[in-house]
C-alpha cells in the first residue's frame, strides 16, 4: 500500500511539470500560430487544393488528410518541442528545476507528456473533417470509420515518436533554432528515409526488412485499421529510446 502511495507522489510530480509546460506553451503566441497554420494547411489540402481535395476526388474518405499530416507533423512537432528544454537551459531555469526534489526521468516524462498532449489537442479540431465527410456522403455515414480511428491512433503514435525526437534535440543545447532544424531532419529521416533506401538496387533482397525500420511502414499498417502488437511495440520502443537519449543528455552535466 505504501509503495502505491509513493508512486502516486511521483506521478503527481510528473503532472506538475506537465501543467507548467502547458501554461508556458499557451502563454506564447508561437503556440497559437503553429496550431492555426497546421489546421489551415490541412483544411486547404482536404477541401481546396484540387490534387488532394475530397470534393474533386469524389470519394468519402480522409485518405489525403492522413497522407499529408505526417509531413506537417515534421514541422509542427519540432516547433512545439524546440523550446521545452533548450529554453530552460538558456534561461538557467533548468538549474532551478534540477535542484528541486525531481528526478531527471520525472522532468523528461512531464515534458514529453505535455508536448504530446498539445499535439493531440491540435488534432482535436480536425474531427470536424470526419463529421463533415460523414454527413456529406451521398449515402450518409458512408465512411470507413474503422480506418479513421486506426489512422488517428497512428497519428498519435507517430506524434509520440516525433515528440520524443524533438525533446531529444531540444536537450542538446541552448539554441532553439538548432533544436528545430535537427529535429525536422531526424523526423524526416526516421519517417521516410528507410523506404527510399530500401529501393536501392543493392538492397533488393532486404527491401522489406529495411523499410520495416522506418516509421512510414508501421504508420501505414496502423492506418489501415489493423492493430498489430508489433507496430505498437515499434512505436513505443522508438519513443522510449529517444526519451532515454534525452535523459542521458540531461544527466551529462553529472559527468
Amino acid at each position: 500500500m505504501s509503495f502505491f502511495k509513493i508512486d502516486l507522489v511521483k506521478l503527481y510530480r510528473v503532472l506538475s511539470i506537465l501543467n507548467k509546460e502547458i501554461i508556458g506553451f499557451f502563454s506564447s503566441l508561437a503556440a497559437y500560430i503553429s496550431m492555426a497554420v497546421f489546421l489551415l494547411v490541412t483544411g486547404l489540402f482536404l477541401w481546396v487544393f484540387p490534387d488532394s481535395s475530397i470534393l474533386d476526388y469524389g470519394y468519402a474518405g480522409l485518405d489525403s488528410f492522413f497522407i499529408v499530416v505526417p509531413y506537417l507533423f515534421m514541422f509542427l512537432i519540432p516547433a512545439i518541442t524546440m523550446r521545452s528544454l533548450a529554453e530552460e537551459q538558456k534561461d538557467g531555469t533548468f538549474e532551478l528545476l534540477a535542484t528541486r526534489p525531481l528526478s531527471d526521468w520525472q522532468i523528461v516524462l512531464g515534458k514529453f507528456l505535455a508536448s504530446l498532449l498539445i499535439v493531440i489537442l491540435t488534432l482535436v479540431p480536425t474531427l470536424i473533417y470526419y463529421i463533415s465527410v460523414y454527413q456529406l456522403g451521398i449515402t450518409k455515414g458512408n465512411i470507413d470509420t474503422g480506418a479513421v480511428i486506426g489512422s488517428y491512433l497512428g497519428l498519435i503514435l507517430l506524434g509520440g515518436v516525433f515528440t520524443s525526437i524533438g525533446l531529444f534535440t531540444s536537450s542538446l543545447g541552448k539554441n532553439q533554432i538548432i533544436a528545430f532544424t535537427l529535429s525536422v531532419f531526424l523526423c524526416f529521416l526516421s519517417f521516410s528515409a528507410f523506404d527510399s533506401i530500401s529501393t536501392l538496387i543493392i538492397f533488393q533482397n532486404f527491401e522489406n526488412s529495411i523499410s520495416a525500420l522506418g516509421i512510414n511502414q508501421h504508420y501505414q499498417s496502423v492506418s489501415r485499421g489493423v492493430l498489430d502488437s508489433r507496430d505498437f511495440i515499434y512505436f513505443l520502443s522508438f519513443a522510449g529510446l529517444f526519451l532515454l537519449f534525452t535523459k542521458t543528455v540531461l544527466g551529462a552535466r553529472k559527468w
Binding site: 507522489v9 501554461i23 526534489p101
Partner: protein
C-alpha cells in the same frame, strides 16, 4: 551541524574548480561565502544543491549525504541560483503554485499567501514575472527558495544589481530567516557580510583561506575592516 563539507573537490577537465575544501555550518546562523570571481563559490553551491556531483570528498546536509540521499537533501534546501532564473512568461502566483506542486505541499494557497507576505510581494502578486522590476524578481526568487520552509538556504549573490533600498529589504529578510535556518550566502559586498553574517568563509583559487567568526577574524588579522582581510588573503590572484 546542518551542513558538513569534508575535503570536497571538483575538477573540470584538468582544472580544479574547488580543491579539497572542508567547512561546517550550524543551524540559526548566516554564513558569508566570499571569494574573487572564479574562486569556486558557485561550484560549491551547485554541488551542495545536488545540481552537479563532486569529483571527490563528501558533503552532508541535515545529516544526509548529498550523493546517497539526493532527494531528501533537495527537500531540505532552498536554493537561489546566481542571476535568479525565473519563468518570465508565468504570473507570480502561477510560479509559486508550480513550486508548491513540486513539493506536494498540503495547503499551497495558504503557503503562497504566507511567502508573498514574507517577501513583500503583495502589490505584485497578480503580475506577470516579465513585468517585475529586478528587486521584485529577486524577492520572488527568494519566495520560491523558502517556499518549502527548508532548514538550509543557499543564496548565490542574492542582492547583486539591486538598489540600496531593495538591498536593505533583502538583508532584513535574510537576517530574519537566519534566526531559525542555516543560510549560506555568497556576495562581493563586504558591508553586506558585516551586516548579516556571523561566520565568514573566504575561498580563493578553490581553497579555503579563512573560516572563522567575523569578530575572531578581525582579531586574528588585526584589521578593522573585512575588506582589508579579503584583499590580503586573495590579492595574489590579481596580477
Amino acid at each position: 551541524m546542518s551542513i558538513v563539507v569534508d575535503k570536497l573537490s571538483k575538477t573540470y577537465g584538468t582544472q580544479n574548480a574547488i580543491d579539497g575544501i572542508s567547512f561546517q555550518a550550524s543551524p540559526g546562523s548566516v554564513v558569508g561565502f566570499l571569494g574573487p570571481n572564479g574562486a569556486g563559490k558557485s561550484t560549491t553551491m551547485k554541488i551542495l544543491t545536488c545540481y552537479i556531483p563532486q569529483s571527490a570528498g563528501t558533503a552532508s546536509v541535515c545529516g544526509m549525504d548529498i550523493t546517497t540521499h539526493s532527494m531528501e537533501v533537495r527537500r531540505n534546501i532552498g536554493y537561489l541560483p546566481e542571476h535568479n532564473p525565473l519563468y518570465l512568461e508565468m504570473y507570480v502566483r502561477e510560479a509559486l503554485t508550480f513550486v508548491g506542486s513540486v513539493y506536494n505541499h498540503g495547503n499551497p494557497q495558504k503557503r503562497i499567501n504566507e511567502v508573498i507576505e514574507l517577501c513583500g510581494l503583495g502589490d505584485e502578486q497578480n503580475k506577470k514575472i516579465s513585468t517585475l522590476s529586478k528587486g521584485y524578481r529577486q524577492r520572488l526568487g527568494l519566495a520560491q527558495a523558502i517556499f518549502s520552509d527548508p532548514a538550509v538556504l543557499i543564496l548565490d549573490e542574492p542582492t547583486s544589481g539591486l538598489d540600496p533600498n531593495q538591498v536593505i529589504g533583502i538583508r532584513n529578510l535574510i537576517t530574519e530567516l537566519g534566526k531559525t535556518k542555516t543560510v549560506i550566502l555568497s556576495t562581493h559586498i563586504m558591508q553586506e557580510v558585516e551586516a548579516v553574517c556571523e561566520q565568514v568563509i573566504i575561498i580563493n583559487k578553490g581553497k579555503i583561506v579563512a573560516d572563522d567568526k567575523l569578530n575572531n577574524m578581525k582579531l586574528t588579522h588585526q584589521s578593522k575592516s573585512l575588506e582589508d582581510i579579503f584583499i590580503k588573503l586573495t590579492s595574489s590572484t590579481v596580477h
